[in-house]
């Protein structure tokens, strides 16, 4: 026996090593909490590789920022002017939409309808991938120390990216929506048909569980439905590109992801979602002209004069106070602004305290068909209709 083992020593070792690995695989597959059974070796591997990745990404971004922020500033002035104009136009648009939003809120309040808000996000850099074509996941440079937990939604300004799968101390693994083990509750924007978005082995994204007799067109937008309890409702997921008859009674709907999953650099992790009933504003509707009028120069009120200290001498000339003059001027200016709102819009300075583009907070409804209408109310400055934008390099609580 001993001589046989000695003769086939290498083969015996090979079988032994393979057996151990097969055994390990079987244990991991059988256990539902696979994360815990193999966590230690994953921590080792991630800690061995990610510091290099973080270092290189840091150097790369540092040099890029130095170049673009201090040297290559061609066209920045023009871009700044364009953006200012865009802000003005969006402000007018916001006021127009706020009326619709207020109406929607009143109706939602009647139905005890709860809105879902992205309350807090954490910006993160993508530092690495899994290194395998069969595992579509990436690593980001934020982890448990930044408040991240398992199963948090990860997005970009364009749309949904995936969810946090494993969270380590300072890094996290994000499972992309095009991986075959991922699943996202989705809804078609036009027809409001619900389905499940899944990745395929080839890295494509398909919308499943839509009946074959339903009207679906290429170009239809797909949004998150909120049914998976991970992604807030109403986030853009992608666009329908191809429809074909699938297995059984369902359609095979191919979707092009809204976010470019092959070129991810910066993402936002939604660390906190809030659900609250819509606040109904009782204030009078705010007109675009009123907002513009606020930006126009005002005549400062004159200081009050103590009548007891007024000279009484006949020869002393004291101009009579005109308390109504400022108000009168302001009223005239407001009227003029109302008439010339369209002319003023491109020249007026931005309103102080106006929401900057890119603020990520967006009210998203948990039921019904509301995300499009659920934009910021005029009376609630914390709510803006902006899409989630690529992040700054720090936490972005809203």
């Amino acid at each position: 026996m001993e001589s046989v083992l000695g003769r086939y020593r290498n083969l015996t070792i090979l079988v032994g090593i393979l057996f151990l690995q097969v055994l390990g695989l079987a244990i991991q597959v059988k256990r539902s909490s696979e994360n815990e059974s193999s966590r230690l070796i994953r921590v080792w591997a991630v800690n061995a590789v990610t510091p290099f990745e973080k270092g290189i990404v840091w150097v790369q971004h540092g040099s890029s920022n130095l170049w673009h922020n201090y040297f290559y500033l061609r066209g920045v002035r023009q871009e700044n002017r364009d953006l200012r104009q865009q802000i003005q136009q969006m402000e007018i648009e916001r006021v127009r939409l706020s009326e619709d939003a207020n109406q929607a809120r009143r109706l939602q309040a009647l139905l005890a309808f709860k809105e879902q808000f992205i309350a807090k996000t954490v910006a993160a850099q993508v530092i690495g991938s899994s290194g395998s074509e069969q595992s579509r996941s990436v690593y980001i440079d934020k982890g448990a120390s930044s408040g991240l937990k398992q199963d948090m939604a990860v997005i970009t300004g364009d749309g949904v990216v995936g969810k946090t799968l494993r969270v380590f101390q300072s890094t996290s693994q994000v499972l992309l929506v095009n991986d075959q083990t991922s699943g996202v509750g989705a809804i078609l924007e036009k027809s409001r048909l619900q389905g499940v978005l899944r990745g395929t082995a080839a890295g494509e994204v398909v919308l499943e569980k839509v009946m074959s007799d339903e009207p679906v067109q290429p170009g239809d937008r797909v949004l998150t439905s909120g049914g998976d309890q991970i992604f807030p409702k109403g986030l853009p997921v992608g666009t329908v590109t191809k429809i074909s008859p699938g297995s059984e009674l369902f359609l095979n709907i191919r979707v092009k992801p809204a976010a470019d999953l092959s070129r991810l650099e910066e993402v936002l992790v939604i660390t906190q979602q809030e659900e609250r009933e819509p606040a109904v504003s009782d204030s009078a509707p705010l007109r675009a002209a009123d907002i513009l009028a606020e930006r126009l120069p005002k005549v400062p009120p004159k200081p009050a004069v103590d009548p007891s200290k007024q000279p009484t001498a006949a020869g002393a000339l004291t101009p009579a106070p005109k308390p109504a003059a400022g108000a009168s001027n302001q009223a005239q200016i407001t009227k003029a602004a109302g008439e010339n709102a369209a002319k003023v819009v491109n020249t007026a300075a931005p309103k102080k305290g106006a929401p900057a583009p890119g603020i990520t907070q967006k009210p998203l409804s948990t039921q019904g068909k509301a995300p499009d209408a659920a934009v910021g109310a005029a009376g609630d400055p914390s709510i803006t209709p902006a899409q989630p934008q690529p992040p700054a390099s720090q936490d972005t609580p809203h």
């Binding site: 290498n10 393979l18 695989l25 193999s38 070796i41 590789v49 690495g128 290194g131 991986d179 075959q180």
Partner: protein, 172 residues
């Protein structure tokens, strides 16, 4: 002296110092995880596999080849979200096979290195797919054109890479 089909009387066995033995696989894993984010086509390359083949062929020890393959494969598994062991099993088989071949054949020249890499890439993919489908239940698509193209690309990269790694070899 082992019976070989080499042009020399005795095959040369090499060893590597500890730093090279640890850092080369780590750098390969790092590049494999980092570069595809910037250059998407790079994902068809499998640098950790090439490193396993190189170490196995250079050391010409089956036990060493198996252990190196298992260790690098398990680390590669750890970076994915799939169960650990799929790459480990495939790399163990490749490590054993490459070291066995290294004992018998002269695999020091560019042509043989190209063919060895081409062959073991396909072996690796076959074992990987068998384990992933049969044991783990993953749904994977096998495409011969894609696999052969990837094997060819890896074999082309292997020739200059192995020449670079030759600098770290020390005669045993």
């Amino acid at each position: 002296m082992p019976i070989t089909y080499t042009s020399r009387e005795q095959v040369e066995v090499y060893r590597f110092n500890a730093a090279a033995a640890i850092l080369i696989p780590l750098v390969a894993l790092f590049l494999q995880a980092f570069i595809p984010l910037r250059l998407h086509f790079f994902s068809i390359f499998d640098l950790p596999l090439l490193v396993v083949i190189f170490f196995a062929v250079a050391r010409r020890s089956q036990v060493s080849g198996m252990l190196t393959g298992a260790a690098i494969g398990l680390l590669q598994d750890s970076l994915t979200h799939q169960p650990i062991g799929i790459y480990g099993i495939a790399m163990t088989v490749v490590g054993h096979g490459a070291s066995s071949l290294g004992v018998k054949l002269d695999v020091e020249n560019a042509g043989s290195r190209f063919l060895v890499t081409l062959f073991f890439y396909v072996v690796h993919e076959v074992v990987y797919f068998a384990v992933a489908r049969g044991l783990v239940g993953l749904t994977l698509q096998w495409s011969w054109p894609h696999e052969l193209g990837s094997a060819l690309a890896n074999a082309v990269v292997a020739v200059p890479l192995f020449m670079l790694l030759d600098k770290f070899k020390q005669r045993a």
